[in-house]
Point group: C2
Chain length 331, copies 2
DNA sequence: TTGTACGCGTTATCAA
DNA sequence: TTGATAACGCGTACAA
């Protein structure tokens, strides 16, 4: 690998001159510029990014922390969308990203997590779906050791932004619509997400508000965003309810398939609007959010933090919809 | 961020001594070792990995090149499995990875690709599903500019290994089984993958061999691994055939749904064994391969290349199966 | 406009 | 057993 010295020698100039040409300094004569560029081309010179970072004292790398659950063979497509969005932005902004699974940190102390990340020159994080149970990540955010953007967790401070849809209103809207479409339903089974999750709490609050307004009976069970658990909840509780509201599409799918096996019908609504829903050919109300865009926005907000802005909350749009197979497969 | 100098000062030793302690040199007295370790702990010192790389002249980073297709909203879960497997190994081996989408390279020349990768200190690649059309990647492999492991492409040289199932035999087996289960079928519609893809050619060869052996009529159409194209092929050609063999599950799903819409029945078989199949509740023969393990193995083979071994071909196992919903959701 | 010299945080060599 | 000191490749004040 050719170094800047080789280029300088070949071009017959000092290496600082080469550096200036490469970094588009003014005050370089066209002549030397041409010489240097010729040498660069000839040698196929590519700056050593390690040396560049060291010299510039820049160590911006973004850690992407996703919460991939291996509960099912089916890897969450939501996380895939998140990662794809972030990868795309990392190319655009020329900022490196490193991917982590939150489960990695479970066995570490808060301090170890910090050291581990810093050793990898990570100074900012995008954390998707933070769970309160992940105490070392929560602490790390509070201590503001890193620039953070939280996707779907409502924490904001000087160095922390959050990007999220309005989970409360969204859950309220979709549940209300579904319940009103089925007027005579008076007993609602709500399959909530995970106990430590922020979004779970917000969505749960919405269904409770709705309960007070519409005066229905409410049974709440936690499905941990896991379709298999949702399935088992259905087997146990569905007959006692006459409408099912699920805090995620995956759980809603588990619920519908379980209901089919029980050979009973209950209206079900979901949350997320994942394409997978199209393949199941189940028609249900759900909330569609654009995970890809959410992740891109999170990256953008991170960039603003790096540029010195203070943390803020960003609200992303959503819509009530049904996911059709035909819409999913058409690009 | 504390540096090695701070530690040295605090411990009252030279920085070279600190370095020795940190890198487990022999010939360091227990006493100084203790002093240094105390200082490290107190300052929360973490070595700057950029400086380490620069000093050691080590720049091992693995580029993961996936071929994510945005043809459908549904991001290929196969790629996600590949990435997850590679991420896991990167943690284990402490080798950094960087993710790329092959489409990024479409607009570059071969030289530009090399520069681009080298500038990011990438010296090895895992390329998933290389297409022959991706000429700059093909050249890069031939010139042996990087250590490469190809997943599902049969190129091997000094610095290039390949990890793959036996696509020929697998396609042969699953097609034969499906055809024999439906004795009276004599006209086969084969929906192949993409024209430039190595696996497409291997699988196509298998169906042709089978044709010669079983004497059926064969119609071949290219679906580019795209379910929407498969769907359109079905609308045009399905009535002329009485059995459909697809080179991927995604296309098979598109085919079955299209057949349903046409209100005709044709036996269909797929390839890959993706979990998504379980959600469609379609029962068909397919080939199950473990993408996660394949990717992990690819990483392992890369490590061997880095350790000086020569490139080789690795064959991974597969099995004929049907993907059941209930198997997919149970962990 | 160009070049010299130093610093970035490490590791490694060689004296002491 | 320890400590100067020279790399590593690059950016950048500052001097020329």
């Amino acid at each position: 690998m050719a170094s800047i010295n080789d280029v300088a020698r070949k071009a017959g100039v000092a290496k600082s001159t080469v550096s200036k040409v490469l970094n588009n300094y003014q005050l370089v004569s066209e002549e030397t510029k041409a010489k240097v560029e010729a040498a660069v081309l000839e040698l196929g010179y590519v700056p050593n990014s390690v040396a560049v970072s060291l010299s510039r004292k820049e160590f911006n790398r973004v850690g992407l922390i996703v919460d991939i659950r291996h509960n099912s063979q089916f890897i969450d497509e939501i996380d895939m969308q998140y990662l794809t969005g972030a990868f795309e932005m990392s190319k655009e902004y020329q900022i490196e990203v490193v991917t982590f699974f939150s489960s990695q940190f479970d066995s570490m102390t808060a301090k170890q997590v910090v050291s581990y990340l810093k050793a990898q020159r990570i100074n900012c994080l995008i954390i998707y779906n933070l769970s309160i149970e992940n105490q070392n990540l929560v602490k790390l955010i509070e201590k503001q050791e890193f620039y953070c953007v939280l996707v779907d967790s409502p924490i904001v401070n000087e160095k922390t932004s959050s990007v999220s849809i309005d989970h409360f209103t969204a859950q309220y809207d979709v549940a209300k619509k579904t319940i009103e479409e089925n007027e005579y339903k008076r007993k609602v089974l709500y399959i909530a997400g995970g106990k430590g999750s922020y979004i779970t709490d917000q969505r749960l609050a919405a269904i409770k508000k709705l309960k007070d307004e519409l005066h229905f009976e409410l049974i709440v069970k936690y499905g941990d965003f896991n379709e298999f658990k949702a399935r088992e909840i259905i087997f146990k509780w569905a007959e006692k309810a006459d409408i099912i509201v699920c805090a995620s599409d995956m759980m809603a799918i588990g619920a519908v398939f379980a209901l089919t096996e029980m050979d009973i019908f209950r209206p079900v609504c979901g949350f997320d609007g994942i394409p997978l829903m199209g393949y199941t050919k189940i028609a249900m109300n759900t909330i569609r959010q654009n995970f890809f865009e959410k992740s891109k926005r999170a990256f953008y907000e991170l960039k603003k933090l790096l540029d010195g802005e203070k943390g803020q909350h960003i609200e992303m749009p959503y819509e009530i919809c049904r996911v059709d197979y035909i819409d999913v497969i058409q690009k």
